[in-house]
Amino acid sequence: MADTKVEQLSVNVVKEPSMMTGAVPRKDWMDVPVTFKPGNYCYPAKKSIVEYLSKGLPGVFGEPREWTVESDDWKLPENWVEIILQGMRERLDKFRSFKVYMDICVRCGACADKCHFFLGTGDPKNMPVLRAELLRSIYRGNFTKAGKILGSIANGREMTFEVLKEWFMYFYQCTECRRCSVFCPYGIDTAEITAMARELLHLVGVGTNWILEPAANSNRTGNHLGLQPHTFKENAEFLLDDIEEATGVKLKNLTFNRKGAEVLFVIPSADVFAEPGIFTFMGYLLLFEHIGLDYTISTYTSEGGNFGSFTNNELMKKLNGKMYAEAERLGVKWILGGECGHMWRVIHQYMDTLNGPPDNLEVPKSPITGTVFENAATTKMVHISEFTADLIKHNKLKIDKSRNDHRIVTFHDSCNPARGMGLLDEPRYILENVCNSFYEMPENTIREQTFCCGSGTGLNTGEIMDLRMRGGLPRANAVKHVEEKHGVNMLSCVCAIDRATLLALMEYWNPNVGVCGISELVGNALIMDGEKERDQDLRFEELPGAAERAAAAAEAEAGESGNNEEGA
């Protein structure tokens, strides 16, 4: 948990001198040095991990070595400045977004207070515009005439170790959530800029372990947690027992690596690993059993999330490549994807370009409703919320909404499905059909204006808890609003990282609010064939009215036996 107590942080964010509280630094931002201290940076990647990744992708992760962030010697290669500048030059030629966004910002400041990290820290370098200037100043100083001649008057500067430290600090205080880009009059996307900066940092061997180790795991074991095939399968099957205990139904359709299935189902691996993701997983399985879907899960591509997308486009491509490779090996018709945010950013906006077109897949068609998912015509991959919404719309699910009556639900739009996909109304439609109490958070905090959990893009690591609780404050604050107004006690989402990070965030800021995936609520509400009297939800918490029903049943039984006696 965070080092700072919530009572203290609550005061700090309002009272401490920061740009959010009206204090303005006296020094120009270029003259404010970065100081690393425990709690404000992520641990660097282990040497063995960088070695491993470099075998598969030589040259893009720098020199494997042990180094410490607080030291003034990062053991950089001698020509590191040259590597960075060369890397910038190449990327300016490869990405129009990067080039245009280096040039056209007018510093109007519309983005300044849109960033959750700025709102939570008040640190001027967390204003998206200034975050971008950290990179832009190097661009001007080295790639534009004005910057070369006028230097700091034109806000150009040389690439120095101080600048590198600044990059490592602030490009790991950006979750590429794209909220600022909604408001920018030119659509400048800090996610693009942060992505470029992180690529450059990796080139000189500056990366974080919390991103690179899960990426290495994803590559080798298929999932970021490093679960080997048998363990992955055991974990998933263990949940079948839980499902049976909660519902009385023994599911039969779950298979692994099965050739000839109609659908390959890809999930974020945390869904078989930890609460509350496992409840979401149980929801998926109940749904598939309910409709008799012919599906299989692969241990080889047992991770939908793509930690490569937090590093560079090369690793993103390499990790993503497994999905199509496995779909083709198994001979499935199309792919269904679970609830995960950045996984869907990659699938929706990158996958077909990176690794498509898939040779033998078909345009996804729901075997239950016959709906053809034209919106996935080329990528051949459908989001579980799209799939479920279609089932509900066609009345294919038997639902008892009241089983979620103990949940007063709100919905967190995860950044990537919201601003990198446009998946907004499908989850809402599902929610409205599986629970009776659903309340929206304030409009400036949902849909395309949604606030990040504060820990995306590989920042959900324990060593920067304070920072995460600050970055997550705008989200938590909006939840608090509906908690106070409507008694909301459950924050639903369609993202595995959210299910981990919002849990910590809620425990910190709003301890009475739980976190769940949408599919968990679906699973709770489904009336399964052959189920027992459902008195518990998938978390083994008592269902509303269960006690009364049990009492009534007992009474009825007692009455019945009484009658019998009388009759006897």
Binding site: M19, F98, D103, L130, I188, Q228, T378, T445, L473
Partner: protein
């Protein structure tokens, strides 16, 4: 800011001195032509230069419901899926500054409680600034075209509708000066914006202000020889420039500042005018799952860690767990509980990957509670 002020003052002084020592042809003819050439050439060069960099990925910022199931209402303007929908989104962006219209302001109060309010002044003033600028430029066509096109007269009529002062005061002039002043004051008074501003942000504001001021002075205070001016400007437009009579220093200052603005334009942030059209988060359709998009520098040599290698790595475990295999286990090897680890690709530190990276990841993802 001081660099920017000094630069504009210096420019005014140069033009003034120039006109005093009789460099009229330089300031009235050579510089304007040069500036216009730099503007045109520079603008085209910059746009072409941007366009030379490809758009590898389809990355629109989706700001509304995307195209999905038939019965889910798509937000066609904020999340366009077709070319014409993109045209709609871009038109709103370019002509109405739609993204800026969404602007909000955030405050933090005791609690802590974050409060968001609507904040449309920048949008309103920005829009006023740009449209007035456009109208003023169009009004100036009177000086370059002979005969004067009819719409210019109409513009002037409506612009002077209030019929105040002699000569009639144009509303666009007033709004324009007000807007520039607002943009400047906002930059100085809002701490966040002041902190991010530097010379390149102040210089165009001062320059534009000085252009407006000299123009207004010329019209209302210092009387200049309009006939001579028109002769020169029409001459410029018809490539037969001629300077006759004494036009007055104020004119040369004005036209020199305009020349500087034109020449400065392509190499400054003012290029947002061209850049907004090339912004991939705005000008692309959100159809990347519907229509294949090709990355010209895609590297086909980047392959995923293959299934064959994966199975080689874990075959024994998979067999024991009844997970289907492509290659059966070798017949009765000597008792070997561990599967043969693959040497080339494997995190050296973690033989039991399940324990190791999971350990870190696990502390976060799941067991974070503790």
């Amino acid at each position: 800011m001081k660099h920017a002020i000094l630069a504009v003052i210096a420019l005014i002084a140069i033009a003034w001195l120039g006109s005093l020592v009789g460099l009229d042809p330089l300031f009235g003819v050579v510089f304007p032509y040069l500036a216009f050439a730099i503007f045109l050439g520079g603008f085209i060069y910059r746009v072409v230069d941007w366009a030379k960099s490809p758009v590898p990925f389809r990355i629109p910022t989706t700001s509304g419901q995307g195209k999905s199931l038939d019965w889910i209402k798509q937000d066609k303007l904020d999340c366009p899926a077709t070319f014409w929908q993109v045209v709609g989104r871009m038109a709103l962006e370019v002509f109405a500054f739609r993204s800026l219209f969404k602007n909000t302001t955030a405050e933090i109060h005791d609690g802590p409680k974050l409060v968001y309010g609507s904040s449309k002044w920048l949008w309103l003033v920005g829009l006023a600034f740009h449209y007035c600028f456009l109208l003023i430029v169009l009004r100036h066509l009177r000086l370059f075209l002979n005969p004067v096109p009819g719409f210019v007269g109409t513009l002037e009529f409506f612009d002077g509708l209030l019929q105040l002062g002699v000569p009639v005061i144009y509303q666009t002039d007033l709004i324009f000066v007000g807007a520039v002043t607002y943009l400047f004051l906002r930059r100085v008074l809002l701490p966040q914006v002041r902190y991010i501003s530097f010379a390149a942000d102040y210089f165009p504001l001062f320059l534009i202000f000085a252009i407006a001021a000299t123009g207004i002075l010329m019209r209302y205070v210092f009387r200049v020889d309009v006939v001579s001016i028109k002769q020169l400007t029409v001459g410029l437009a018809t490539f037969s420039p001629a300077i006759s009579g004494d036009i007055g220093s104020i004119f040369y200052i004005h036209i020199f500042l305009v020349s500087v603005l034109l020449a400065y334009f392509p190499f400054s942030k003012l290029m947002h005018a061209g850049g907004v059209f090339l912004s991939p988060t705005r000008n692309l359709a959100n159809n990347s799952r519907m229509v294949r998009h090709v990355n010209p520098w895609n590297d086909p040599s980047i392959k995923p860690h293959s299934y064959a290698d994966y199975e080689d790595d874990f075959r024994q475990y998979m067999a024991d767990a009844d997970i289907p295999l492509e290659k059966e286990l070798p017949p009765e090897p000597e008792p070997e509980p561990e599967p043969e680890p693959e040497e080339t690709e494997k995190p050296a530190a973690e033989p039991a990957a399940e324990e190791a990276p999971a350990a870190d990841a696990a502390t976060e993802t799941p067991a974070e509670k503790e």
